[in-house]
């Protein structure tokens, strides 16, 4: 028996669940049924393992438990009989495992015909072995809402015949973009939602990094997968320095760079070079290259802003979204001064009126011009627009006159 800590259990789920779920989908041809059986086994494991310990062969244990659930269902529901017969007939102690099953499963969960939030939820359940309750908790929705979202998506997979397959070469770039977007949402939810204490039952950043690493191993010639992995590693390398006393967010320029994970930063740099050799820079490569510029700067003042501005320029050309343009405006301030940045911000106001980081950025710029009352109003607007406690703590500190002087001093 191993140590039944929650991280040990999560690691087992990461290694086993997708393989088991994938092979059951292949055998039964029914995504909905297979996924339900594995989820049942996961829920039972979460009750038993913390008490009894993790079994010697956890994969076999999960499979055996899923099989017992299948037999229970067979007794209750005759509609499942023919499919369950397939399972009970051909069910050797270990279902034949095909490594590609995991990739097929990921592409099915992240099919573009499924809404993005459901793609994310399905991936976390079917591939990572998270429970509906854990996913609902992580994404701050009720368990009933999350369960409904998952049920609807699974019905669509079955009713619309969404295939269980890795897409062909022609469709791969577009389909891979869907998978990467879902993975990045998982990572960001963990990164932005985590707050200073990581006492949640499941660390989504670790899950997203693991899953992205898996996809990178299975599709080693895809530069955007490697780039997303580099991007996640770079964010992760600064994670420990993102929160100060009282749980307030610490801005990049105020973070303690000595405590960044420099080995991870170097590794991400190597990944970026590897990705660059495989193809022209895509959106994740550009974002990771920007993150690398920040991570590799010895001090905030040494940041290579012209390089960052150029990378943002390339990113805007690929994806001219208002949020990307906002980030470019921040780089522009460091290269061309606050007036140029303010001009950009004014142009973005209509699009980003409801985005808290727009107002927080605007407040910072207004302070550069000494327009303190307007800055305070913009910070108050940002506070209204965010529920994240760490971001609120930072913004509220800026509004406090004593704290304001301290931050103002840092800026100079």
């Amino acid at each position: 028996m191993n140590d039944p800590t929650s991280e040990a259990i999560n690691a087992v789920f990461r290694n086993e669940v997708a393989l088991i779920c994938g092979s059951l989908v292949r055998i039964t041809g029914d995504f909905d049924l297979a996924e339900d059986l594995v989820q049942d086994a996961v829920v039972i494991a979460l009750q038993k393992w913390p008490v009894d310990g993790v079994p010697e062969r956890p994969g076999a244990w999960l499979l055996q438990t899923a099989r017992r659930r299948a037999i229970d269902r067979l007794r209750r529901d005759s509609a499942y009989r023919s499919k369950l017969q397939l399972l009970t007939d051909g069910w050797a102690p270990e279902v034949h495992q095909d490594p590609d099953d995991r990739l097929r499963l990921i592409f099915t969960c992240c099919h573009p015909a499924i809404a993005r939030d459901a793609q994310v939820a399905l991936t976390l359940r079917a591939v990572m072995g998270m429970t509906t309750s854990q996913i609902a908790h992580a994404f701050l929705v009720s368990e009933a809402t999350m369960a409904q979202r998952i049920v609807r998506a699974k019905r669509k997979i079955v009713d619309a015949h969404i295939p269980y397959r890795v897409p062909d070469e022609e469709a791969l770039p577009e389909r891979l973009a869907e998978v990467l977007a879902a993975l990045y949402i998982v990572f960001n939810e963990g990164y932005l939602g985590s707050g200073p204490d990581l006492a949640t039952s499941r660390d989504l950043c670790t899950d997203a990094l693991w899953l992205c690493g898996l996809v990178a191993r299975m599709l080693p010639a895809e530069p955007e997968v490697i780039s997303l992995l580099a991007l996640m590693r770079l964010h992760e390398s600064r994670r420990a320095t993102r929160f100060g006393a009282g749980g307030a967010l610490v801005l990049l320029r105020d973070q303690d760079r000595a405590h960044w994970d420099h080995a991870a930063i170097a590794e991400a740099g190597a990944l970026l070079e590897q990705a660059r050799r495989l193809g022209s820079p895509g959106p994740y490569w550009l974002q990771a290259a920007i993150a690398a510029c920040h991570a590799e700067a010895p001090t905030f003042e040494d940041t290579d802003w012209p390089q960052i501005l150029a990378l943002y320029g390339a990113l805007v050309r690929l994806n001219p979204s208002p949020v990307v343009r906002l980030n470019r405006a921040i780089a522009l301030e460091h290269v061309a001064g606050p007036a140029a940045a303010m001009e950009e911000l004014d142009a973005l106001r209509v699009d980003l009126d409801g985005y808290h980081l727009y107002w927080a950025t605007r407040a910072e710029l207004l302070r550069r011009f000494g327009r303190l009352d307007e800055a305070a109003a913009a910070d108050r607007r940002a506070i209204e627009l965010t529920d994240n406690p760490s971001e609120r703590a930072l913004l509220e500190a800026r509004l406090d006159p004593n704290a304001l002087r301290a931050i103002g001093a840092n800026n100079n």
């Binding site: 099919h111 295939p163 897409p167 469709a171």
Partner: protein, 121 residues
């Protein structure tokens, strides 16, 4: 697996004769391809929605009115049923549709022979 492709277009669009001819020629090629692949089941192009008649039941009695079921600039202009291997195949067929300023909705068709009760009833 059978899917219906519903073609939705902006009815205010005006094409001159040459444009119309080019469009139909391209559409013919598309039909030719899916026909050759043995995937074409059927389909029709519809008269404009100004010719539509809608029947609704009010307290059990039919009420016949002029016009489509929903007034909109965009309406269903036609449909095609295809026999595709799965949704990805149906998506691939639809992506080759040559008219790029339209919308196509893909709906899986219920296989009634396998169903004891018609759910539409």
């Amino acid at each position: 697996m059978k899917y219906m492709l519903l073609f939705i277009k902006d009815e205010t669009e005006v094409l001159d004769e040459a444009e119309l001819k080019a469009r139909y020629a391209a559409i013919d090629v598309w039909f030719g391809e899916i026909g050759r692949d043995g995937k074409l089941q059927g389909g029709e192009e519809l008269q404009p929605s100004s010719t539509a008649t809608t029947i609704r039941w009010r307290d059990g009695s039919p009420l016949v009115t002029d016009g489509p079921f929903m007034e909109s600039k965009e309406t269903v202009a036609g449909f095609v049923t295809v026999d595709a291997t799965d949704l990805d195949d149906a998506i691939a067929i639809t992506k080759r549709w040559p008219v790029k300023n339209q919308t196509v909705e893909i709906r899986p068709v219920i296989a009634h022979e396998a169903m004891p009760n018609h759910p539409a009833g």
